[in-house]
Point group: C2
Amino acid sequence: MATLPRQLHLNAFLRNIGQHEAAWRLPETRIAGITDIDHYIDLARTAERGKLDAIFFADHPVLKGKTEFRPFDALDPFTLVTALSGATSQIGLVSTASTTYNDPYSLARRFATLDHVSKGRAGWNIVTTANADAAANFGYPNHPDPDHRYRRADEFLQVTQKLWDSWEDDAIVGDKDAPRFVDPDKIHRIDHVGEHFSVAGPLEVPRSPQGRPVLFQAGSSEPGKDFATKYAEAIFTAQPTLEEGRDFYTDVKARIRRHGRNPDEVHILPGLSAIIGGTEAEAHALQRQLEDLTVPDYGLEQLSSIVGFPVTHDDLDRRLDFTDRQDTGTHFIKSRYALVKRMVHNEKLTVRELLLRLSGGRGHRVFAGTPEQVADTIEEWFTTGAADGFNLIPPALPSSLSAFVDHVVPELQRRGLFRTEYTGSTLRGHLGLNRPASRFTTAASAPAC
Amino acid sequence: MATLPRQLHLNAFLRNIGQHEAAWRLPETRIAGITDIDHYIDLARTAERGKLDAIFFADHPVLKGKTEFRPFDALDPFTLVTALSGATSQIGLVSTASTTYNDPYSLARRFATLDHVSKGRAGWNIVTTANADAAANFGYPNHPDPDHRYRRADEFLQVTQKLWDSWEDDAIVGDKDAPRFVDPDKIHRIDHVGEHFSVAGPLEVPRSPQGRPVLFQAGSSEPGKDFATKYAEAIFTAQPTLEEGRDFYTDVKARIRRHGRNPDEVHILPGLSAIIGGTEAEAHALQRQLEDLTVPDYGLEQLSSIVGFPVTHDDLDRRLDFTDRQDTGTHFIKSRYALVKRMVHNEKLTVRELLLRLSGGRGHRVFAGTPEQVADTIEEWFTTGAADGFNLIPPALPSSLSAFVDHVVPELQRRGLFRTEYTGSTLRGHLGLNRPASRFTTAASAPAC
């Protein structure tokens, strides 16, 4: 039997009615989509029609910034992705959830349940929550600093993994005659006691189809990369150029190896916001249309929060000057700060130019072109050591997702880079990942593979 | 236009594969149903076919007791009910959730999202969590006492209601030309600071179809009744006899009035576990079959935890003696303790007899009979001041639910006591409840009804 060539992994990051901050102003965009389940069902089914690995939603446990000027993620992502489980049957369902503003028992219980109700399609994008304003919704005087957040996240992962392992696969006996419903020797307390958590366990959810949900992470800072390479099975990242993408890929794969893990079992998925046109001119016209609809007010606020000092209308035609600025830590995503600084330095961008670059992808790579050109850049990154696939971030929804599925996916399939049918029905199956064994299952009792 | 006679409200309480502790041992019961979404989809659609008001699931954030001898609620109820939203279109979706082991911001966000994705069918059964073992899954050295739990619950309700009100109905403007996505004057911080919670708000979820989810509660203790009559829009209760049901009904309706609320807008729904047969003999044979399949081990453990002292196999043929027992508060549900004490006293039950009574309904009323006899008892309670409807607790699933929907519902419809079609598509609509206005909406800006 011929071995399949290495296959791309494609994940659709669905941001309400579009990632581009001006997408809502396009004539065809339906404002009500922001809270309309039918809008999200349409997106999920389009992504499944395109045989994508998964759809995924961000998590913001706080109403962010200047909502006057742009939409926002208005629904709880876990509840949304759960509601979509019944409208789809094969595509992976990934929700972001915070280790800072959840407790591990409840979160483990919810994800194990999602894995059951979706029949093995659950994924968790682990975040520590970057937005400092979230603290005020949870009774904390201050947002914990990154080191504290990552220490808590590490212990959070230990606890949730133990809880997911707390039922062995064959714990339910269901012997009506004995009678014996479960074998209590195959259900384990975890009795975790640590710096942040004390959790007795076991979970009350029997072991789920995938054993554990697939773990995603997007850390690009030092502690973030360390955490991601220790736990994640797929890593999201914002890489604006091929060269930076390759550097990140090489660095992260080496770190994975240093953690004693197989780098082939951790997929690196850079963000890609593709503006697709039938011709190059059409794609660029759509990009210009989006730029023309962008107002600076929202972007200035976002940029100010990234760099940690106020950037105003008066600065629009200047270049940001970082020389007297300390890396003070007031900005909330270190990797995003470094990225912006690098963009200004390398590309000599004015604030106005920088805002246009950020408006489309919020730091993620924006590429405008024909389906063939989009496939070309995907293939180049994929075959030259910069990516195992992509986190697709459609600038406008549903139009940009449909364009990708209808025109780019067939081109990738023609090139033999992407599946033409799902070969399994679990997210682990799509990603080529093994189902983990429970730590409590002894070799003697483990079922044969 | 003729006024409809007062209508029953029927809610289906779905406990995994059956409320009766021996239901899993019936030959037809499918063990795998416990974690199988298709089992729950089947139940939800059966309940919707019967035009019931809602389905509802319990919440146990801990693996309870002797699972060797009986099934348990194995899935997170909120996630389960959310997954069922897409498989149904009209029936209400009620999840239990604890005010002791949740934070109000996250919970408000989830329920508002469920209300959006279900298009107005969300209900929250508020509990403070009675099982003391839950504390060990959340890092608490001890389970908080009832007074503390109810004080926290009260503040929890204040916070969540403010959060659900934080968006006025017309806050989303979506003016593409202005551009103006929302009107920030119609989105309100709540800035709640209290004994248990500090929450800034606003929620990031725009106001949902029902304004707020419908609130259910099952407090039967003194603080429980006080809480329920202050907040709940439907009250679950365990009442073994018509006389006790009437006393409870009269007491609770008076308390509702004392809180300045309209007693007609709070429905009292006693539990009813109906064992249905084509003839009386068939019904009693099914009841005997269930009794014969009941083993005392599980029931003895449950009973011990209710009464607060050990009850063993040696006690099976004695009557429990409460004379030297203090109401020590070690037992975890005060109202259940009082109920058991009353049953032993009034009906002179041995422990064995008591266990059989508890095995079917865990304190809820069990009634075996023909569809006509079940309809008779429902009609009697409904028309003589003991109930506004019932919380149906099918002893075996799916069989007892199907029997009720196929045989009892048509009988109730023939008698003009129950709807033959849904007249609306929201849970508030089914229950005849008004949609609450946001506290932040001024009279001038309120939309006309």
